[in-house]
Symmetry: C2
Subunit: 232 residues, 2 copies
DNA sequence: ACCTGAACACCGTTCAAGT
DNA sequence: ACCTGAACACCGTTCAAGT
């Protein structure tokens, strides 16, 4: 399972060490920079979703000509990569000195990861099709280290990591998609009504009306962790 | 968790019962029909991926004018919905009379579901963001019925179903994405090399080079089923 | 009932050019 | 070094019109 699609490399020089900032431009435009572009892209994505990110619109928000972006960035995919990884930053589980609570640490990491993606609902479905950025790799490294330290053997480690990845990604992509379509909720309900006869078990358990996403996520995760934990 | 985005309804009348087909047009064009459109869309998606499906291209393949499709179909999203559900058809676990092997049945259903999506790699990432079609609802109904029949209580059923959904979707979306980018494999490898120092645990376990997708899928699934199964 | 071409309002990106 | 407008090659979809 190799990393992929590294995104066309921009021919721009590495961003130089931050020179002292001019306090912040009054209200006019700060000079274009990769940082501003990425930050604005995240805002735009949060506000308008994946389809809302257009190069011209992004440039507009930055008060720049439509084509100015292409000096800082190779193409639109690179904007996606940068915005995605920007959002995934993580500073460890605040290492309290107390107990070696591997399970608590893992749950904290995964719930934080999920929460971040739900805060930026475009990010989850983007993550699997783009190359893993440094922030995501860092999260995977911390997760691996924690499980390994807890006693999961090297032979079992990959299965454990990928199972957790699969579960978290599936849960978050699904939930983010439903979030985005609250408008259609009504239409969905109605459609469901006509279906009860064909899908009696779904209807009885009210599967499609279940709202306890957080609880369901946590319970399923517990099942996985029961199985994945270090051999007792 | 309600169904959603039902796809703009076409104003076309329901397709009439199949009149006797003229054996198949020699090589010229059969008349345009919803069936042909959907079948051709699936072919096109298989060959070119989600971004490869363009209304003009689809019409081309059908030997029709670019705009003829819009009489049969409301818009492009409806084509996606129809192609997606067409691919998800399922005829139960061939009910052999033998043992009440609920676990075997569940594994069969989920592996078939995953296999179908991997055969049409565009389908997995599409599924969570579109309304559930009849074929997918049928799969969920069968899954629910099997778990319920095996003794999973109504209170636990939704958590069980959604956990399995999450796991299967996450696994399949991830794997299909990697499949699509074999070309970049080389670039990925190289990128990884430079990273080994920052992510030593990932490097040691060769997490990103692991190729045993099928085995990993099955093992993680077993962990989930251990936890989800009927209370013993 | 079914199909069509012209036309509109967009897209991402190239390029030659400005400062 | 950094930014720009004009232009190209596309898109999905509307519409008025054909048979």
């Amino acid at each position: 399972m190799a990393a992929k699609r590294s995104g066309t490399q921009s021919k721009r020089p590495q961003r130089k060490a931050a020179s002292l900032q001019p306090v912040q431009e009054p209200r006019g435009e700060a000079p274009l920079s990769l940082e501003r572009i990425v930050a604005t892209a995240v805002d735009l994505l949060d506000a308008e979703g994946v389809d809302g990110l257009k190069m011209r619109r992004l440039a507009d928000r930055l008060g720049a000509g439509a084509m100015s972006l292409y000096w800082h960035v190779g193409n639109k995919d690179e904007v996606f990569d940068l915005a995605l990884d920007a959002v995934l930053e993580y500073r460890g589980p605040s290492h309290r000195v107390e107990a070696q609570d591997w399970r608590g640490d893992v749950v904290h990491m995964l719930e934080d990861w999920r929460a971040v993606m739900l805060r930026h609902p475009w990010s989850a479905s983007l993550l699997p099709r783009r190359a893993l950025g440094p922030n995501m790799l860092n999260r995977l490294e911390l997760l691996s280290r924690t499980l390994s330290g807890a006693g999961v053997s090297d032979a079992d480690l990959n299965v454990a990591i990928w199972s957790l990845w699969n579960y978290v990604m599936g849960a978050t992509i699904t939930r983010a998609s439903f979030d985005l379509s609250d408008e259609d909720r009504a239409a969905g309900q109605q459609r469901l009504a006509g279906l009860s006869e064909h899908y009696p078990t779904i209807e009885r358990s009210r599967l499609l009306l279940d709202n306890d996403w957080d609880g369901a996520f946590r319970k399923g995760l517990d099942f996985l962790l029961d199985g994945l934990g270090p051999r007792r």
